[in-house]
Structures are given as structure tokens and as C-alpha cells.
Amino acid sequence: MQELMNKKILVVDDEPELLKMIEEILFSEGFFQIYTAGSCKEALETARSQPVALFLLDINLPDGNGFMLYQELRRISAAPAVFLSARGEPEDRLRGLGLGADDYIVKPFLAGELVLRIKALLRRTYGLDAEEKVFFAGARRVDLENASVTTDSGEIPLRAKELILIKKLWENRNRVVTNDALCMAAWGEDYYGHENNLMVQIRRLREKIEEAPSHPVHIITMKGLGYKLVNVNE
């Protein structure tokens, strides 16, 4: 966790207000080594002097554009990069991703989404585990690292698929996760036909996490859509 927050992030945008806002968002999430730059020149200077772990790049910059900057940065650093641009045209998106960028976010964005994507990218790149490895569903303690649920009466182990599913739900807590996204996480791209398996796995998860599995209060069914993990705390 601390390891994740230690990462240095460089945000490049020509809009000072937005730069400040992004800095605040990341800071409030726990990141404390945030660098900002308003131009390509500044960005390159920072990148040369600091071991930046992730670049967040605007495309329209006063002394060039984000695509060019990205290519310059690649000579200095291999850190992942995310384009954060007001240019939402498919060509721009394709160009950004085609250059090798790891993500492309179109402005305006929700702070939560930005943070989720940055954290996911950092974890993926640097092999870090999920942020919180433990959470509470009511009185039950779910330990994602040890794949177990602790209740008053003892510890119940989580099976492999159950662990994948609860991780996915936890990462997207309070949001609906579609059956498709859950199936894909558990069974891969070719998940078609696993819908019934998903129901079975969710029932098992409920038996382990819920006090009353037939009246779930944590893993809520969104009829026809998927599931939502609610009422859980770190």
C-alpha cells in the first residue's frame, strides 16, 4: 500500500487550474510525490531529474503536443503513460494508444475513475497487490491476501474463483459489475456459457460472507445486469 503511494507521478497539462485539481485529487488519495508541468520543456526537465513512475499527459501543450512529448519521454523513461485529453476523437485515441500509451482518458473525467485507472496501472506495472487486502462485510473479515473469511465461529477458506470474483467486486465496490465482467475475470475472454457457473460461485461467496445468504446485504443482485458489493468497510 505504502509502496503504491510512494510512486512519483508527473502530471502535464497547460491548464493550471486543472493541474492543481488533479494534484489535489491524487494527494487526497494518499499520493504525495506529485510533480506538475505546464509545458513539454518543464515535463522533460522533471523527467530527467526524477525517477517518475507514471506520466499523465495532456495532448494540447503550449510548446508541442502530448504525442511528441510521449516519444521524447520514452527515451528517458520506461514508466507507463496515460493520456488525459480533451481530444475525444477516435483517431486521437487510436494514435495515443498506438504510440504505446497505457491508457487514454477523455476530459472531463470523474476523479474516482482517474484514481482507479492510475492505481490499477501502477499495480499492473510494478507488480503491486490490490490496495486493501482486507475488508469487513459487517462483522466478517475478508482477507484477500490469505483468501479467507473470518467469522465468529472460525476461518473459512475462499476458493480460487471465489477469490477472483470477490476481488473484482471489491475493486468496484458500490458500483455495479456486469455478469460479463465477472465471468471474464474468472474464466477469461471466452466466458460465454459460464453464466450458471457464476451464479453458483456467487451463492458460495454469499454463504461465506453474508450472515443470511438468502437475504444478502453485501453482494446484491442487480437483476439482469450483474452484482454490486455494498456495505463494506476497509
Binding site: 491548464e15 487550474e17 486543472l18 485539481m21 488533479i22 489535489e24 485529487i25 494540447n60 480533451a86 481530444r87 475525444g88 476523437e89 477516435p90 477523455v106 476530459k107 472531463p108 473525467f109 470523474l110 476523479a111 474516482g112 458500483r175 455495479v176 459489475v177 456486469t178 455478469n179 460479463d180 460465454y192 453464466e195 442487480m222 437483476k223 439482469g224 445486469l225 450483474g226
Partner: protein, 438 residues
């Protein structure tokens, strides 16, 4: 296309053949009329005159002969026993040989006609060089087959005329065909550059000029289109940046525990409205680029059910009020269409989002999906207040305001995918999308 040219060509050849034949017939009649000798009136026919002469001889009177004509009677011994106006160079005595040589022909260059009677041989003479006599002799077969041969000749003429028309027509055909090709190219908006010669020179010139004019117009149009498209993209860019600041600020405010509940609620209103603006800009951009080039960039097999679930989930996860309930009832998980996943998802999202924005007090939104024949049918209906008829009618056109882009865009996306979209009010608003299965 060639059909038309062939038709024109066929009519041309047939009419040429018809005209030639008609001309032939007219000629035949004309020649017949012109060749009739007006001098040969009935009174001057040699046969009639001869019988007149024979009667006059019998009655001892003088026969009435035209000027310069003469006559005589030769008895069985070859002597001229009677004569009227006989020229001096016509002999008075004839041998049988003389008679045989002169009968039907000439006597000392006088054209003569004869008539045999009991009293002898009546001879009627005309002035020298007044008549030409020719002998016509053909086999009887020739005469019998004459009508048949005349028909052959006529038919041959017809064929010949058609053949000639065909040869000359080929020339016309080629010119016509190149003209036709030119017009067809014009229709397909291809460049037309015909050789400006021959009988259609002026038409070719006009076609070439029209083609150039269309090209200039198209170039101007496409320049204007791309300018407009770029303009929309530019404006969108300029709006998105400050909008990000608004979004992020209002999001921060709405989650700020130090603020009163009321202030946080207001911040949420700002947030949800800035998200609305974001979607409007996205739609505006998409619709502008789709107007410019209607083809989706990448078509791939798309599973419909996950797409519907994603669209609904996006709406719910972006803070859908509790006064709305969305109930997908998807029957056929295996439904797959060929298309652009992002566009199709946008279409479905827009329609669901429409239901939300048209019913601020909340409503129930039902989404069903099923397969019928070779189509997948998605029905999105709500039990809300319905939409004004002009919204439904205007769905096929570009909306005049950015408000309400959702339905026209969904309509276009579905159409681009070879499907159909129907919208109607029925205890709420219903949209039915039909897409061909892969």
C-alpha cells in the same frame, strides 16, 4: 445500362430499315408513274388506229391520222393497193422477206404496225425517230416467278438496309455508349472526361463541364464538411477542458464532509449536469463525424447482451437516481451482430438515457432482447410521460439543437448497421431496434 443503349440502337436500326424499304416502295411507284408515256393516249394506240384505218378503207373514207403518220394496204401479192400520206421513200412493192423484216419493227426507219385483214395487210407508219422499239424475251418461268423474285428482292433490300443501318449504327452505338457511360459515371460521382468529337460533340462538352462543376461542388462541400467537423471537434476540445475543472471541483465539493448537506446536494447537481454536457459534446462530435462519413470504422462480431448490460451499468454507476428502475430481460445470450461495438453501445445507452432525461420524476425502464428470424430485436420502453411527436418525427433528421441528440444518433447508428429503429408513444415511450444477426 447497355439495355438502354441497345434499345435506342435497335429502334435506330429498325427505323433505318423501315425508312429504306418505304423509300424503295415510293421509288418503285414513282418510277412507274414517271415512265408512263403521256403521248400514248388511248386515241393514238396503233391497234385502235389500225382498226380505224381498216374501217375507213372499207367505207372509202379517209382515216384520221395524227400529224406525220401514214398508212397503206399491201395485198397478198406484195403490192401496195391503198395508201394515205405514204412517204415517197416507202416502196410500193414487197416480197415476203420484206414483210417479215418489217412486221413489228421498222420500214425504212419508219416505225410501223401491222394488221392482217381479208383485204391484205394494213400498215400504220409513224414518223422517223419518233418511237424506239425493243424486243423483250424471257422464259415463261421468269414471268411466273417474277412476283416471288420481287418479294425476294424486297426482303434482300430490307436486310441490306438493316445491315447498312447496323454498320452506321455501330458508330452511333459507340458514341451513345460512351455518352451513356459518361452519364452513369456522373451519377456515381466519378470524373467524366469524354472525347469532344463526333455528332455528340456538344453533348460531350456539356457532360464534361457538368462533371467538372459537380467535382468543384463536391470538393467545396467536403471542404465545408471537414471544416465543420473540425470546428465541432475544436469547440468540443475547448469546452471539455474547463468542463473537467467543473466536474472535478463539483465532485470534490459533493464529497466534502465539511459542507452542509444542502451544499453537497447542489454540488451533485452541478456534477450531474456537467456529465450531461460531456455526453452532449460526445454525441455532437459523433453525429458530426457520422454525417461526414457514415461508415463505422471497424466492424467486428459484437455480442448484444453484454453490450446492453454495459450500457445500463454505465448509467447506474454514474449516479442514476433511485426514482428510476432499469429492468433488462435478455432472452438470447447468443445474439451476435457485425458492427462497431462502441457505436452500438452508445445507441443503446442514448435511448436508455433519453428515458431518464424525459422523465425527471423517475420511471420504470424495461429492456427486452430476443431473436426473431435473422434479426435481434431490442425493445427499450418506459412507463413515463412519453415524448412529443415532433421528437419522433425529427429522429431521421439532424436536430436543430444539441438538446435531444440521443434519438437521432441512435437512429443513425442503427441504420449504419443495416438495422431499423422504430419509436412510438405507448403508455410511455418505446423504442424498438432491429439489427441483422451475424
Amino acid at each position: 445500362m447497355n439495355k438502354t443503349v441497345f434499345k435506342i440502337f435497335g429502334i435506330f436500326v429498325l427505323s433505318a430499315a423501315f425508312i429504306s424499304t418505304l423509300l424503295l416502295a415510293i421509288n418503285a411507284v414513282g418510277i412507274a408513274l414517271l415512265s408512263s408515256d403521256t403521248e400514248y393516249d388511248a386515241e393514238k394506240m396503233p391497234g385502235r388506229l389500225l382498226s380505224g384505218i381498216s374501217e375507213s378503207y372499207g367505207s372509202g373514207t379517209e382515216a384520221e391520222l395524227p400529224e406525220g403518220w401514214w398508212s397503206m394496204l399491201i395485198d397478198v401479192n406484195g403490192n401496195v393497193v391503198w395508201e394515205q400520206d405514204k412517204p415517197a421513200d416507202v416502196p410500193d412493192k414487197y416480197t415476203i422477206n420484206d414483210i417479215a423484216a418489217m412486221t413489228r419493227w421498222y420500214l425504212n426507219d419508219y416505225p410501223v404496225y401491222v394488221r392482217t385483214e381479208d383485204s391484205g395487210l394494213f400498215v400504220l407508219g409513224k414518223p422517223k425517230n419518233s418511237v424506239g422499239k425493243y424486243e423483250i424475251e424471257y422464259s415463261m418461268d421468269w414471268f411466273y416467278t417474277l412476283p416471288k423474285r420481287m418479294i425476294y428482292v424486297l426482303a434482300l433490300n430490307l436486310l441490306l438496309a438493316a445491315a447498312m443501318a447496323l454498320i452506321f449504327g455501330m458508330q452511333l452505338y459507340r458514341r451513345l455508349k460512351s455518352l451513356m457511360d459518361g452519364i452513369n459515371d456522373l451519377r456515381r460521382e466519378k470524373t467524366v472526361k469524354l472525347k469532344e468529337r463526333g455528332i455528340f460533340r456538344e453533348v460531350c462538352q456539356s457532360l464534361n463541364q457538368t462533371s467538372r462543376a459537380i467535382e468543384r461542388k463536391n470538393a467545396a462541400l467536403s471542404m465545408r464538411d471537414s471544416a465543420r467537423s473540425n470546428w465541432v471537434a475544436g469547440i468540443s476540445h475547448d469546452i471539455r477542458t474547463p468542463l473537467s475543472v467543473i466536474t472535478v471541483c463539483s465532485e470534490a465539493l459533493s464529497g466534502n464532509g465539511a459542507l452542509t448537506e444542502e451544499s453537497r446536494k447542489k454540488a451533485e447537481v452541478i456534477l450531474s449536469n456537467s456529465i450531461k454536457i460531456k455526453r452532449l459534446i460526445d454525441d455532437l462530435n459523433l453525429i458530426s463525424s457520422m454525417e461526414y462519413d457514415m461508415q463505422p470504422s471497424g466492424k467486428a462480431p459484437v455480442r448484444i447482451c453484454p453490450l446492453i448490460r454495459r450500457a445500463v451499468t454505465e448509467l447506474i454507476n454514474n449516479g442514476l437516481s433511485d426514482s428510476f428502475s432499469v429492468e433488462p430481460e435478455l432472452k438470447e445470450e447468443k445474439a451476435v451482430v457485425l458492427g462497431d461495438e462502441k457505436l452500438l453501445e452508445r445507441a443503446v445507452f442514448n435511448i436508455i438515457n433519453n428515458a431518464v432525461s424525459h422523465n425527471p420524476d423517475g420511471c420504470r425502464i424495461m429492456i427486452t432482447e430476443d431473436i426473431s428470424e435473422n434479426n435481434v430485436c431490442i425493445v427499450i420502453s418506459d412507463n413515463g410521460t412519453g415524448v412529443p411527436d415532433e421528437v419522433i418525427e425529427g429522429m431521421t433528421e439532424i436536430p436543430k439543437t444539441a438538446h435531444g441528440l440521443g434519438l437521432p444518433m441512435a437512429y443513425r447508428i442503427v441504420k449504419v448497421h443495416g438495422g431499423d429503429l422504430e419509436a412510438y408513444n405507448d403508455n410511455g415511450f418505446t423504442v424498438r431496434i432491429t439489427l441483422p444477426l451475424k
